[in-house]
Structures are given as C-alpha cells and as structure tokens.
C-alpha cells in the first residue's frame, strides 16, 4: 500500500525546512531527516506531527526536540514523549525559553530511562484520581501540583511530570499513589511540628543531618501507614522489593523498631538523630521524595498566622450570633465567656474530633471551624489556648489574609499582577492542546449611566413591547386540567356518564374516567454574552443595548432566570467580563442604568468568556440552560495571535466544553460573513445572522421565543 510506505528524505526535509524556517534560522535538519527516513511511516508521522505542533509555539524548542527525540527513536513510548513535549510547551508558556530548553534537554535523560521503562505514569493522567484519593484521607485539605520532584510544603503535594521508575504502568501508578500517601502522612502525622531549621542547624553537615532525619521519619511514617492504610502498606513493601531499594542495615533496624510504636512522634525521630547522624547513611525508599524544610517553613508560617486569625474571627462571629439569640435575657453578661475545645481521641493515632463548649455548655461550631481546628491540630498536636480568644472589635480585618480582595481596576496601576484573577486555559489548535492558565480573567462592573436611554427605548418600541409581552405570556406554561385520564384526583363526571351509557349500550367501557391538574414550570436559565469590543461602537452598540432592554422586559413577563455579561479584552493578560445583571439580581433601575452604560471596549476574545460564563451557568439549577452570544464579528484579539483560525478554534473548543456541561450555545450575529465560520463554531443550526442592525432588537426576542418553545 503506497499510503503506508515510509517517506523519503526529501519528503521529510521539505516540511521540516518550512516549519523550522530554515531559510532564516539556518538550523541543520539534514541529520534529523536522515534518521527519520529509516523509521517506519507510523513513527515518521508521529514525530513530524509533534515537531510541527511544537514549532507553532517555538522553533528552537521544536528543533531541540527533534534532534533529541529522533535520536532516541524506536526505543520509547510515544505517550511519554507526548507528555514530555507538552510539559516543555507549558513550561515555555509559563517560564519562557530558557526553562523550556532545560526541560527539552532532559528528554535525553528521559529517553535513556525509557529504554528500559517505557510505561511511565503521566501527572496529567493520574493527578485527578490521586487528588480525590488524598482528599478522602483525613486531615487538612491538600492540593496536588506538578513540580521537579515529589515533596510537600505542607499544603500542596508536588509530584513530578512523569513517574517512570517502575517497569509496568500499573506499578508506576501505585508508586505515584504511594508518594502521595507518604507526603500526606508527613502532614498528617506531624513531621512538620518542629522547626527543622533550628533542629538541624546544630549539625556541622546540615545536608547529611537532613537526610538522616528524613530516613528516621520515613521509618516512623511507614509504621503509621501500616496502621492507617494496611492495604497500601503491602503495596509499598512490594514496590520497595521490586525497585531494589537496599535492605536496612543494623542501626537502622533498631531505629525502625523504636519508631514503630504508635505513640512515636517527630520528637522521637529528633531524639534519635544524634545517633543516626554518625550512623551509616540512611536507606532511601523509592517513594519518599524530598524533604524541603524551607518550603515548609514558609508555608507553615503564613498558615499559622492566617488560621489563628480566621479561627478567632469565626469564634467571635459565633459568640455574636449566640448573644443575638439570647438577646431576650434580662441581664447582659459582663464577663467575657470562656470558650473551650475538647479533643477526644478514640484511639491513639486517630485524628481527634472536637467539641466546642461555651461556659461549659456545648455549642454547635459554625461552618469551617472543624476544618480549621483540624488544620491547627496538625500543626501543633493540640489547640493552643491563645487560638480560642475571640477576636476583638478591631481585629476583624481578614483582608490581609485574603487573596481575592484586590480591586480588578488596580491591576494596571503599578506593576502587573495576576492576583484576584481567574485563570482559564486556551485551546491552541496548532499544538492540538490547551495552553494552561493562559487567560487572566477578571469580572468587573459596568458603571451605571442614569440617562434617558431606557425610557426612550421603551417609548420607541412601545408597540413591539406590547406585542412581545402578549406572545411571551402565551408561552407561560400554565396549570391546566387534564380530562379523561386513566389516573387522577377526581372523577370526570362527563366521562363517567358517557362510559355508563356505553356500558348500557353494550360497548366497552373506557377506563379514562378521571381528571387531574397538570402543573408545569418553565425551567429555563439563560446567559446573555454581549460583545463589548471596540468594533461595536456606534449603532451596533445602540442596537445591542436596545435588544437587551426589550429582552429584559419580556423575560420579566416570562419569569425565566437570566443573566447578562459583557465581554472584551486586550491580550490574554487582560480578559474582562462585565457584570450587567447576575442571575439572582432583580431587574431594577440599576440594571437598566448598567445596560445603558454598556460602552465599547477593546477586542473580541471569546474563549475565556464562554468558559467562565458556562461555569457560572452551570451553578444554576435549571432543566434548560442557554448561552446566547450577541456579537458583531469573528473572534479577534490584539497582537497575540488570537485571530482567524486560532481564535475560531479556541472558541469552538470552549463551546464544545460548554455543550459537555449540558449548555446549549446559540449565537446571534450581525456579521454578514458569519456564514463562513459560525457553522464550524456553533453547529449548523445554532446561529442566526441578522442582516440589518436595526432589526436586532426585534429579532432577539423572537429568536429567544423560538429557542425555548
């Protein structure tokens, strides 16, 4: 079959030269082409696709990838190569060329490793399962992220991009699970309750001390895991055997026995450390990862402050609530009530449960307090008394501990930052993969404009509004009595009389003799996504605003839940959504003034808007969920390549995601060229092109009616 014949050198050379722009970059591609020419067609295709995809991001990375990956040809698992390439591109997105090159250089190491271990567990594949796994274990709610090595800062567990230590894929997954469980055990069984810097500072060789300490803790935690998760412990033992971890030497065996006691704590490990320091180097096990005291210290310090404040404020709020409830009592109490927390532990090693008492009377703790108490307990092994002093009046300021409180408008005053923003991925069709955390999205308010736009619109379209109200009222599905039913609440006398007559007559008697009330509720939630790009300036903007006013008027009649957001943006760093009306907000003067205040902004970046609004829409409980876009043209943004195919493909991808969430997207556009790209984005029937801007207000309501009946 000609189709499957390997490509010849010239056939490989030519695309390579184009993708890598050899004319300008003078990169040497001959050697790559030669090596590739000897591979099978399938492999050739695989590598060529990836080189092209990476080249769409950066040519240098693609070249380095080609040189290194092709050299290790036929010995490696394609899935692992893919993961590595994607990791390099993500790194490029995040940290630039230099960091990405480092990742690419690692391919060599990696490919070498793959000669023997071709079935690594890729972080992307396993992180979802492992995160749920670790959340199910008790204790603090942890996060899971990707890093250069397995370690934890006591709030986030880090795993490498690929775990390829073991020969079989299943074993690599188990290894990942063991790593996660081991890191969890560090937080759960109090490895970080001591100040490691202080404790290890006394030793001449701090690194050696840290290693020995890690060894001791590993012994202790293994014993904890054996008690807590015996099934996993068996697996871990098996991993150790098959990865050829060294057997435990003599002093370490004794340490293991001492540290296996259920009441052993990190203090016991520290007590043994002087002895261990002079003992032979601690054995390492495949899942223990690294211990990074600096990361832990930094994270812990911030957390302790934050949680202390949070807890005290929560307790103060709880007191206030209780006092409000007791406001009827004749004499207000003078003394500050005493709050006490009792831990009761059912068995050694179990996490205690907490009972809060107020002047010895038990109270039910407010939401989140138990989680806070657990987290504090993990840090100290007890609840320090100063945590139980309710915050005073002046101490209510939690803002310094909050991440979200930043005003989005401040972002561009001073240096750029991403605090308080939500990050959304974007689909890169050339890469055939997402660019992670690519769009920096913020919600902003439209400043309301109180002018005569709304009365004018209502006046101008008063006839139309009346007509629309009538049509929409007819759509309200009202209760109606269903007669002649087989089941119902009441006897349908008419039916019964007829049936009796039939029976007398000798013909068959029907059993549909009852009637019942049929009640239905329209259950529709709709999100309007309004184009606020610069190109809408002028009459398009006017038409959009008028349509929205008409839409709101009619939707109020209908009783459907609706929200309106405007979108605009300039580059991926500044994607903005403007709140015009939220779902739970009533349609009032302010909303009208906001509609009136819609002004053209910057460019049309659509993917992030669809992603964010679908997630908002998804939180609403409704049987039918609609996402209606009002736009004037194809997706297009300034400078960073968000245009033509790239923009369309990203928007399409975002719409596919929305559909997966059970949302029906629909587009109303005035772009006469819409026919060319809208079917691809929205599907053949999910869009309407309106040829005259003036007709927009009329049409929108009409289209809505057709969509929801």
């Amino acid at each position: 079959m000609a189709d499957n014949a390997p490509l010849r050198i010239e056939q490989i050379l030519q695309p390579l030269e184009t993708w890598l722009e050899v004319e300008f970059t003078f990169l040497q591609v001959n050697e790559i082409a030669e090596t590739l020419a000897s591979a099978s067609r399938e492999e050739q295709d695989f590598f060529l696709v990836w080189i092209r995809r990476i080249a769409s991001t950066n040519i240098q990375i693609a070249y380095q990838f080609a040189v290194r990956a092709v050299a290790g040809l036929c010995h490696n698992d394609q899935r692992v190569i893919e993961a590595w390439a994607l990791h390099a591109m993500d790194t490029y997105d995040r940290a630039g060329l230099r960091a990405a090159m480092q990742v690419i250089e690692d391919v060599e190491n990696f490919v070498q490793l793959s000669h023997t271990h071709a079935s690594g567990a890729v972080f992307e594949d396993i992180s979802g399962i492992l995160l749920t796994f670790v959340r199910g274990l008790s204790g603090r709610e942890l996060k899971l992220e990707q890093a250069d090595a397995p370690y934890t800062d006591s709030e986030t567990l880090f795993l490498p991009a690929v775990i390829a230590h073991m020969e079989k894929a299943e074993d690599n997954f188990v290894l990942g699970k063991a790593m996660v469980a081991y890191l969890w055990a560090q937080t759960r069984f109090g490895s970080f309750r001591v100040d490691l810097k202080l404790a290890l500072g006394a030793y001449a060789d701090a690194e050696h001390a840290l290693h020995q300490f890690h060894g001791l803790e590993t012994l202790r935690l293994e014993a904890c895991l054996q008690r807590e998760l015996p099934g996993l412990y068996r697996e871990m033992q098996r991993l150790k055997r098959s990865s050829g971890d060294e057997a435990i030497a003599s002093p370490w065996q004794r340490f293991a026995v001492l540290l296996a006691a259920p009441e052993a704590s990190v203090a016991d490990s520290l007590k043994l450390l002087p002895e261990a320091y002079s003992a032979p180097t601690a054995p390492t096990v495949c899942y223990q990862g690294e211990l990074r005291p600096e990361a832990v210290a930094k994270c812990r310090e911030a957390r302790i402050e934050r949680e202390k404040m949070h807890l005290r404020v929560k307790l103060a709020q709880m007191l206030e609530d209780i006092q409000k409830q007791n406001a009827m009592q004749p004499e207000p109490r003078e003394a500050q009530p005493t709050i006490d927390v009792k831990e009761h532990q059912e068995k050694t090693g179990e996490l205690p449960s907490f009972d809060i008492t107020l002047d010895d009377a038990p109270v039910s703790p407010p939401e989140g307090v138990k989680q806070l108490l657990t987290s504090v307990y993990l840090d100290f092994g007890e609840i320090p008394p100063e945590y139980l002093v309710p915050a005073g009046d002046g101490d209510y300021d939690l803002s310094q501990f909050e991440d979200q409180a930043k005003d989005p408008n401040d972002v561009w005053q001073g240096t750029y930052h991403e605090e308080g923003a939500t990050l959304y991925p974007e689909w890169d069709y050339r890469r055939q993969h997402y660019r992670k955390n690519w769009c920096v999205m913020r919600e902003k308010d439209v400043s309301p404009v109180y002018d005569d736009f709304v009365p004018q619109t209502l006046d101008k379209h008063s006839g139309l509004i009346k007509h629309l109200r009538r049509t929409f009222e007819a759509m309200r599905d009202e209760d109606r009595l269903l007669k002649r039913q087989a089941e119902g609440d009441e006897v349908d006398i008419d039916a019964l009389v007829e049936a009796l007559a039939d029976a007398r007559d000798g013909s068959e008697m029907t059993d549909r003799l009852l009637m019942r009330m049929h009640r239905t509720e329209r259950n529709v939630a709709v999100m309007f996504m309004v184009d606020m790009s610069g190109s809408t300036k002028g009459w398009i903007n006017d038409a959009e605003r008028e349509s929205l006013i008409l839409m709101c008027e009619t939707l109020e009649t209908l009783g459907d839940r609706y929200a309106i957001y405007g979108f605009s943006g300039i580059t991926r760093k500044r994607c903005e959504l403007f709140r015009i009306k939220q779902f739970d907000e009533p349609y009032n003067d302010e909303v009208q003034a906001r509609i009136s205040g819609i002004r053209p902004q910057d460019y049309t970046r659509m993917g992030f808007a669809i992603r964010h609004l679908s997630s908002l829409l998804n939180t609403v409980e409704a049987r039918t969920k609609l996402l209606i876009t009002l736009s004037d043209g194809k997706p297009d943004d300034y400078f960073d390549g968000y245009r033509s195919a790239y923009g369309i493909e990203d928007t399409r991808q975002a719409l596919i995601e929305a559909k997966r969430l059970g949302i029906h997207p629909f587009c109303i556009t005035i772009d006469k060229e819409g026919q060319e790209y809208l079917p691809h984005m929205y599907g053949a029937v999910n869009y309407v092109v309106i040829d005259e801007v003036r007709k927009l207000p009329l049409k929108v309501a009409d289209i809505y009616r057709r969509l929801t009946t």
């Binding site: 399962i129 749920t132 199910g136 008790s138 699970k177 469980a181 059912e346 609440d489 009441e490």
Partner: protein, 270 residues
C-alpha cells in the same frame, strides 16, 4: 410460604428492630407523642431515620404507615379519592386518612419531594386542631388520640426548590440525625451485618474517607446503610475490596475517575 398481605393500618411491628440511640431522641419522641406534637426527622440518607420510626412504632405499639413522597404525590394520594366501581363512585381513604382514623403513626418520608400543595393538607393535622379536612367528602376527620404524624427531610440536598416552608417546618418538633460517631457506627455495622468488630471499624473508616469527599466531587458520602450492605457481603465471603466496590463505591457515584479514586482508598485500607 405465602406472602402476607396486610392492611396498612394493621401493620404492627412485632419484633424489636435493632436501633442504637445516639442521643436522647427516643425520650424526646415519646414526650412529643404523649403531647400530640408532630415530629420532623432531619438527616442525611441512610443514617437511620426510617429504622428509628420502626423502632418507635414497635415501642409505642402503634401501626406504622409509611408514605414515600415523590414529586407527583398529590393531596388526594394522601387523603383519599372517589373511585368508580360497578357504575358507582365509592370513596377510598388514602394512607393519611387511614392513619388518622386508626390512630396509627403516619410517617411521610422525604416530605420535600412532595408537591407544595400536598404539604398544606397536613397543616391542620400538625397543630393543636389535629383534624384532617376531607374536602371532597365535606367532613373534618378528627384524629384518634393515638395518631402521630412524623415527616423526614434531608437538608443536605439544598436546592431552593426543595426547601421546607417556614409555615410547615415551624409546626414540628425537630430531631436531628447524623451518622453516629465512629465507635457507635462500627458497633451498628458489626451488629447488623455480623462482621467482626475490626472489620466493622475499617468499614467505618472507609465511610469517613468518602464523607471527606463530600463537596469535592461527591454529593454524599457512604451512609451507615451502605456499610451494613458491604458488611453483609463480606460476611458471606466476598473479598472486602470487591464488597466495597459493589456495595459502596458504585452506589455513591457514577463518575469513572471518582470510582477509581474511591477504589484506591478502599484497596489502601484493606
């Protein structure tokens, strides 16, 4: 053996159902019963609300009429309706009317599922009037002195549409149920499913793991009932991990990734 067919108002519970009190719910219920106060049981699914009702019915020696409410349950389904029999209409009492007449305990399970208009018919029964208006008959049915109304409600499924109206909820003495503490729960599991206490403890630990996941992908953690199911499977010789998969994991989620994760939790534990 032939299955017994009983009239609902003759359904007395004869043998003592197994019930472990977690607090003072038994004495409170008895006091409410003596004072003709209706009772509202709140709590997540499978924590023992229905079992508690069976136990109280046994203790008070009253028949128990249970109605599982659904979103199509109408007032006539509770009160009664005319049916056509042989060319004539005859009145047939609904379960609520039967209970009111016979002085039974009427237990409306998951009351919020019923339609809003349905709930209103229980209002006159649930305050000091204790009458059931039967509009279609044009009579007020006075409740027997032994009649008791109990409803259950799961506040966990918080949806605006499915919340009890204040006018309804403020008629009841409320008893809050939750999963019992670990020691008690393992005792219950051991007793109900006849597994040994070490295994029951592990099952309870597993349940706690799934309850930790509530909110991060799971709507509800494993209930005591599911633990009993798993325990029974294990007692009849099924491997613990397989029993947890069938009786617990598959019952709480359909999401493939969640199932794998829950599976990993149980295989780590056993």
């Amino acid at each position: 053996m032939q299955a017994r067919a009983l009239k609902s108002e003759e359904y007395f519970i004869e043998t003592e159902p197994y019930y472990q009190a977690t607090g003072s719910e038994i004495t409170i219920f008895e006091a409410a019963y003596r004072n003709h106060l209706p009772v509202l049981l709140k709590g997540p699914t499978g924590c023992g609300k229905t079992r508690f009702m069976e136990y109280m019915a046994w203790r008070l020696k009253r028949p128990l009429i249970t109605v599982s409410c659904h979103d199509d349950l109408t007032a006539s389904d509770l009160v009664g309706r005319y049916l056509v029999k042989g060319g004539e209409t005859t009145w047939v009492d609904g379960p609520l009317a039967r209970a009111v007449r016979a002085g039974a305990i009427c237990y409306l399970d998951e009351i919020v599922e019923a339609r809003k208009d349905t709930m209103v018919v229980i209002h006159p029964l649930a305050d000091d009037r204790r009458v059931l208006p039967m509009e279609k008959l044009g009579v007020l049915l006075e409740a027997d002195a032994n009649f008791c109304l109990a409803v259950s409600y799961n506040p966990g499924y918080q949806s605006v549409l499915k919340d009890l109206k204040q006018s309804t909820r403020q008629r009841f003495v409320a008893l809050e149920f939750d999963y019992p503490n670990a020691a008690l729960e393992s005792k219950i599991v051991a007793n109900e499913s006849k597994v040994d206490s070490a295994l029951a403890e592990k099952l309870v630990k597993f349940a706690h793991m799934t309850r930790n996941l509530k909110g991060s992908g799971l709507e509800e953690g494993a209930s005591t009932r599911l633990l009993v199911h798993a325990g029974k499977l294990i007692a009849s010789g099924i491997e613990p991990v397989a029993a947890c998969r069938s009786a617990i994991a598959q019952a709480i989620s359909d999401d493939a990734e969640m199932l794998i994760a829950v599976q990993e939790l149980s295989s780590s534990l056993f």
